[in-house]
């Protein structure tokens, strides 16, 4: 087998084990003597726990132990943390309530963790849980996001008066108000960014294990970032020091953000394993996933856009209330602040922006990052505003966007971001051509002729990925650095292991990372193994989220490969009896410049380890190098998505007829995988726009807690997609990569809603635009048109 180039759509090597049923997900792993955990969860959204009676349950067959919050407290197990400090406008730190792994005195959402039953079998644990008696003092639930902070509401946490976590802002208020005061036209919208439930197909699972001989704990867990889990469980929860705690995240069946966070369930399994000195296994059922996985989005927003007479945007003013749920999840506080407001400028040159965000507690599941995390919410605000403004002022929505595009780089927005590279008009031009925008009028007429309504919707999105540099993250309140690590180990015969702190849970790193190594070292991909997801193997890492594995994770590998190449040249110089400056490395061969004297990579590796032909006083034996990479800036993927759809006004059913995506992700490593990421993102974005919505009733019961009630996108809800790219090189990493994982989910919702509102001539169809909602709006449209 030969060398695989960057930019080649090679098939994925990891596929073989998945298509033959030989993957190793957490629930596939068993340890000798393991017991099973079942969590008794709160049936109430808000209540005091007045008494827990476990004596009958303890007599149930197979029961090993039952633990409650009292046991956690007695063992001084620390609470779960939120790792990003946000300060309010007045400079005060955010108000954070305690987050114990098992409830202590009160429950705050349906699904909150009341007790854990551990038994010989899962069925026995579940049976015994039914025999636990809990006396609850039911309290009024705070559910309404917009009203959560109003006076008179019962406080969910003593530490957070008026259920307010923070009143945060970004931008220049006075300058923005002045822009509005002198505006020729102001567009105003109110919108809700609907609450979503991530639903990775693999439910979360944990297997805690304790080795009393070495006093070492091991947690097998469905994690996107096992090292972060280890830090939190060690330094904050305090279960074991890092050197006595191993976290393994093997094959993980999708994450989309929901597996970033350190949850109560996994924490309790690990703690309990030591407590009972037996492995403890827990796998969520789907209803538990609905109830307790961190949800996404859930914003209530008012936005205003100021225009001058020529149609240029002069100001943007946004107020958002963000639902953070009953407890602050691991990165919850950052999502509606620093991952949101800095993206409000979109692709547009907007001189004045001001955004206020109120983060509130409610008696609902914690809300945290879900695919896109803040950036879909920002894109929805700006892309709806721009669309409405174009229509209100009689301008073509595509041309109105073009008029306001940023055209020179770097571009400093008024909201922190410094866009480094892009070509927004090029993406728009290509998208318009691919979507046959010129032929739209004829297609609309054809739809009308058969009693349908056709609409087109644009979304010119920009996102910020690969959050960086670490010093900036720290300055904004982040509790971690957001670099990535890599170690390249060359073996004696020239095969290579790459240890990476990135984690693959569907992204295909075993293929793309091996492509990088193959192309750089000139060795076949099958000689390269990618190792990830085990804190005993990989020293440190920050994991995979925010489309960071290419831009940050692969850059770390690239840096380690630079060091490998430099050392290999020295070894080659000794072997070939030439100065290392005279050694050239190309296509897997080290050659003395201007001669035919050469040695291949495998032989250099052999010589590095044998030490026979190198001076080991000048060069250490061996060939292994590590690197940490901290980028200089965020990356800025951007593009234009165009949705064209048809509405049946008799049924309200929306059919997406065409989807055109033109994205700029910088350099592509494997276009096939990139396209797959875009497809999946679009599907989740279309799901948000048309199908999905978490719904709590006024008592805080989750009405959408199964696949029977929460509408996941299925194959016949979606079309095939046309996915194209343009390329501007990202200057802030050595590979020129921008990241592609979230683009579709960010771009899609406004494209769909803009298309529906175009078809209907209305501006107020909320997400999800279900057939019922669309039918109601369509009736108004039909009546209006009949009257005309």
């Amino acid at each position: 087998m030969g060398v695989t180039a960057l930019g080649a759509s090679v098939k994925r090597t990891e596929d073989i084990r998945f298509i033959t049923g030989k993957g190793h997900y957490v629930d596939d792993i068993n340890r000798p003597g393991q017991a099973y955990a079942y969590f008794l969860r709160s049936p109430h959204a808000h209540a005091t726990i007045d008494r827990i009676e476990t004596s009958e349950a303890l007599k149930s067959p197979g029961v090993v132990a039952i633990f409650t919050g009292d046991d956690i407290a007695a063992d001084k197990v620390g609470g779960l943390i939120c790792g990003w400090m946000i300060h309010s406008k007045d400079g005060s730190p955010m108000n954070v309530g305690g987050h114990p792994s098992l409830a202590q005195g009160a429950v705050r959402y349906v699904g909150d963790h009341v007790a854990v039953v551990i038994a010989d079998t899962y069925a026995e644990a579940k049976d015994a849980a039914e025999k636990i008696v809990v006396d609850y003092g039911v309290l009024p639930a705070v559910i309404d996001v917009a009203g959560a902070a109003k006076d008179g509401q019962r406080h969910i946490h003593e530490a957070a008066p008026n259920n307010t976590v923070y009143n945060w802002h970004l931008g220049d208020k006075a300058a923005t108000d002045a822009a509005f005061a002198s505006a020729a036209h102001v567009t105003k919208i109110d919108l809700v960014n609907n609450r979503l439930i991530p639903n990775a197909m693999e439910p979360r699972a944990a297997l805690g294990d304790y080795d009393s001989g070495t006093d070492t704990m091991t947690l097998y867990t469905t994690s996107q970032n096992p090292h972060v889990a280890r830090v939190v469980l060690s330094a904050f929860v305090g279960l074991a020091p890092e050197n006595k705690l191993r976290v393994i995240a093997p094959d993980v069946g999708g994450g989309f953000g929901s597996k970033i966070f350190i949850y109560a369930d996994e924490t309790v399994c690990l703690w309990a394993a030591k407590k009972i000195n037996r492995p403890v296994k827990w796998t969520a059922d789907r209803t538990e996933a609905f109830l307790c996985d961190a949800h996404g989005r859930d914003h209530v927003t008012h936005g205003e856009l100021a225009l001058d007479a020529s149609g240029r945007i002069t100001g943007l003013r946004v107020h958002t209330t963000a639902n953070l749920g009953a407890y602050l999840s691991t990165f919850a506080s950052a999502v509606p602040t620093y991952l949101y407001a800095p993206l409000l400028s979109g692709q547009y040159a907007i001189p004045n922006i001001y955004c206020e965000v109120d983060g509130v507690y409610t008696n609902t599941a914690p809300v945290d990052a879900y695919r896109g995390a803040g950036r879909p919410e920002a894109t929805f605000v700006i892309e709806r505003l721009v669309e409405v403004a174009a229509r209100e002022t009689g301008r073509d929505p595509a041309e109105f966007r073009r008029t306001n595009f940023i055209r020179t780089f770097p571009h400093q927005t008024p909201v922190l971001m410094n866009y480094d590279a892009g070509d927004f008009p090029a993406a728009l031009d290509k998208a318009l051509a691919e979507a046959d925008y010129k032929g739209l009028a004829a297609r609309k007429a054809a739809s009308v002729a058969k009693g349908k309504l056709r609409g087109i919707g644009f979304s010119a999105y920009i996102e910020a990925c690969g959050i960086a540099p670490s010093s900036a993250v720290g300055a904004l309140g982040g509790g971690v650095g957001l670099w990535e690590s890599a170690e390249v180990r060359v073996n004696m015969i020239g095969t290579v292991e790459v240890l990476t702190g990135s984690h693959s849970h569907g992204q295909g790193h075993e293929t793309t990372f091996a492509q990088l190594v193959s192309s750089r070292l000139g060795i076949p991909m099958e000689n390269v193994t990618i190792v990830h997801g085990d804190t005993d193997k990989v020293q440190m890492g920050m994991g995979t989220y925010g489309s960071r594995s290419g831009a940050v994770g692969m850059s770390a590998i690239s840096k380690a490969l630079d060091k490998i190449e430099a050392k290999a040249k020295k070894v080659a110089g000794h072997v070939l009896e030439a100065s290392e400056q005279d050694i050239e490395f190309k296509d897997g061969k080290f050659t003395v410049k201007g001669t035919d004297k050469s040695i291949d990579f495998g032989s250099v590796a052999m010589n590095a380890y044998s030490g026979h032909k190198i001076n080991t006083q000048e060069i250490e034996p061996g060939l292994k190098e590590g690197a940490f990479w901290d980028p200089t800036n965020w990356t800025f993927p951007a593009g234009v998505h165009i949705c064209e759809l048809e509405i049946d006004p008799q049924t309200g059913v929306v059919t997406i007829e065409r989807w055109t995506a033109v994205d700029d992700f910088g350099k592509l490593i494997n276009p096939m995988i990139v396209e797959g990421q875009v497809h999946g993102g679009i599907a989740q974005g279309v799901g948000q726009a048309l199908l999905e919505g978490a719904h709590y009733d006024s008592d805080g019961q989750l009405l959408t807690a199964s696949f029977m009630d929460y509408c996941m996108p299925r194959a016949d809800d979606l079309p095939s997609f046309k996915v194209e790219t343009i390329e501007t090189i990202c200057p802030s990493n050595p590979l020129g990569i921008k990241g592609c994982g979230e683009a579709g989910a960010i771009a899609a919702p406004p494209a769909v809603i803009n298309a529906i509102t175009d078809a209907l001539g209305h501006e107020d169809v909320a997400m999800p635009a279900t057939p019922q909602a669309v039918w109601r709006a369509a009736q108004k449209t039909m009546m209006k048109r009949a009257a005309e």
Binding site: K11, G21, A200, T283, R286, G506, M672, G676, H679, A715
Partner: protein, 164 residues
Amino acid sequence: MVHVSMAVNGRSASADVDPRTLLVQFLRENLRLTGTHVGCDTSQCGACVVHVDGQAIKSCTVLAASCDGAQVTTIEGLAANGKLHPMQQAFQDNHGLQCGFCTPGMIMASIDLVNRLGPNLDEATIRHGLEGNICRCTGYHNIVKSIAQGAREMGAAATPQAAE
């Protein structure tokens, strides 16, 4: 306890199990055939699809005891003599999977679709045929392509003379 006995991937398997044991639990826990996955508890997602007596069923919704005497095929039983089933190969060829969790059920359901409707499947038929299988990663685009290829190749393998 109840005694169950069935042929799984051509091998006989039997055990005494709790009567409430589901087929998927029997496969995963008794036989350690962990390629069949559980993605939900309402028989919606299809990650657990296996073939029982030649037909696709959701193994999270059938008792092991009710499959006594059946012939069961799981994802582990598809590849023969080191050669992937055409539908497995098609999923790799077309990038029809990302995280891989729904994939075994997708492949088993797809083969059943071809068995029922034949090898010439248009896009609408494939999409409708996937009604009982949820994927969160791929947006189905490449799954549809995979199934179209897998179906064609299953058809070609079944009628080798037809091509001549």
